[in-house]
Amino acid sequence: MKTHPEGFRFHEYLLFGAATLIALALCVCAGSVSIPLKDTAAVVWNAIWKLPMPEGISADAIILSVRLPRVLCVALTGASLSLCGAAMQGLLKNPLADGSTLGVSSGASLGAVVAIAFNITLPGLPFAGTVAMAMLFALASLLIILALAYKLDFSLSTNTIILIGIVYSMFVSSIMSLVITFAQDKVRHIVFWTMGSLQGTSYENALVLLVTLAAFGAAILLHARELNAFAVGEDNALSVGVNVRRVRLAMLVCVSAVIGVCVSIGGTIGFVGLVTPHMVRMLTGPNHRRLLPASLFAGAVFLLLADLAARTLMNPLELPIGVVTSFVGALAFVYIFYSSRKGKNRA
């Protein structure tokens, strides 16, 4: 059997980083109008250093104001969702846990929808109302779902959690329909949240995602050893001396904050947090000191490619990105569920 070293090593960071950069470059260049890499590089370079735009390139507007902000948002959202998925799968010792399967994303989008429908804003920051409500609803959803799950089945088995997640998502969508009937004038805006799309996102959005990921994502990354203990079992974590309650609460808050922000910007993009950590685990093994950083990069690459597919597959028609990820994710879900059941029967 192959030995995995404990931490994520420098050359692995380089490798995963390079893959992410290549995916980023590909996504900026490709699209309804394809732009040569050389031109893209020149435009981005000159924009960064505030140099005049190179002669003979007409695509600078497409690159700088449409594609680049969108691609950055896609990469950051993918990295965030994937990291959260990996963290929750470890925390709950459940390979099917993810914002979308648990119903946390639905909860967050309800928060966002309520904020839009009733014009809830923070003074001075028009955008922050949606973000804050999405974060708050994500945390509340996680707490409700886990409280229910603990009450029904203390071991938090896969089936219980998934079932509660489904029921919770249905419950949330009924409330969402109710809210929509009260806010007919904003239907179009609200439907966007239920689809999941990063079309038309801005540099400000990317900055919000980056700050959130830097703060809460870093906290998740720093808890890799504790997550290892949880992934072996909560009783084992207790026995080896992990502060079980504090770590669990910290992780839930971080995950809710990150998912809340992602949802408020891109809507519910399902299954990213389910598919990527699962694929990454096959490469790195389950140790979170390797799994978490690798998931971060892999999530960015996965969502970038999904977004590229969404933009180009049915060109000129654009698919919502959530459609692509859910398509891939649903298949992966069945596969993981099947293989984890098979593993259980063998043991």
Binding site: M1, K2, T3, H4, E6, K93, N94, P95, L222, H223, R225, N228, A229, A231, V232, G233, D235, N236, L238, S239, V240, G241, V242, N243, V244, R281, G285, P286, N287, S340, G343, A347
Partner: protein, 246 residues
């Protein structure tokens, strides 16, 4: 301590103590509350009353200090991910460098290697725990407990799923560990012969109450066992043994 789930009382004012060198065997029929008692002591199950370790309230101890004082081995382990044996055992050292920013304790790797060697798991260090047999898995978690090096071991039917060879190995290993300074073991066992063979003291539990506590031989006396198990335990044990006469 007492443990109640709503109206249901699982343990009613159970009190006991262990001293260094003790191996206390908790015995009793199914549903007596043996595992619950161990779970409460290890802080996994909420309880009324107090658990003290060297005069300190265990519930108020920092988790890392508690883990350096006492460690728990469950009767079975449902592992969901393919951690290697080495990774499982290294988790045992968590309590010596807990939290996010604490530096690694010196000598960690030596402890891990010793624990692997003691349990005969050195050759399996890189093996995924998903591919281990029940006996190997239990020994991997025992190695984690040895690496954790607490002063008190809490064992919940440590050999429940193991065949005779492993059963003998695990009990011999724990007996060897107990010979170190200032150590004690509390274990739940079903097998009364094992309790008599390895235990220095015993606690007989029935329907959440202590029937008898003290030296193994007095506690496992004929009249105590007959009362609790409602059968002639001694007769049955002799009959089992007679199957092996040549």
């Amino acid at each position: 301590m007492s443990v109640r789930y709503g109206e249901l009382t699982i343990l009613e004012r159970v009190s006991f103590s262990v001293a260094p060198g003790d191996w206390l065997m908790i015995v009793g029929p199914n549903g007596a509350g043996k595992s619950t008692l161990l779970g409460a002591v290890s802080q996994a199950i909420p309880y009324e009353g107090k658990a003290l370790f060297e005069g300190k309230d265990v519930a108020r101890m920092k988790p890392a200090l508690r883990a350096r004082s006492m460690g728990m081995l469950a009767q079975s382990h449902a592992v969901a991910y393919s951690f290697s044996v080495g990774e499982i055992v290294r988790l045992g050292r968590y309590a010596y460098a807990p939290g996010v920013f604490s530096p690694r304790a010196g000598g960690d790797e030596v402890r891990v290697r010793d624990a692997l060697e003691m349990t005969g798991m050195t050759g399996l260090i890189d093996q995924s725990v998903l591919t281990l047999s029940g006996g190997e898995l239990q020994r991997a978690f025992l190695a984690q407990l040895f690496a954790q090096d607490p002063r008190l071991l809490l064992l919940d039917e440590p050999t429940n799923h193991l065949d005779l060879v492993y059963q003998q190995q695990v009990f011999a290993l724990i007996g060897e560990w107990l010979r170190g300074a200032e150590r004690a073991v509390v274990s739940v066992v079903h097998d009364l012969s094992l309790a008599r063979m390895y235990g220095t003291r015993a606690l007989l539990l029935d329907r959440g109450r202590i029937v008898s506590i003290g030296g193994t031989r007095e506690v496992l006396a004929r009249e105590n066992l007959e009362k609790v198990y409602s059968m002639d335990v001694y007769g049955w044990m002799r009959e089992l043994l007679s199957q092996w006469e040549e």
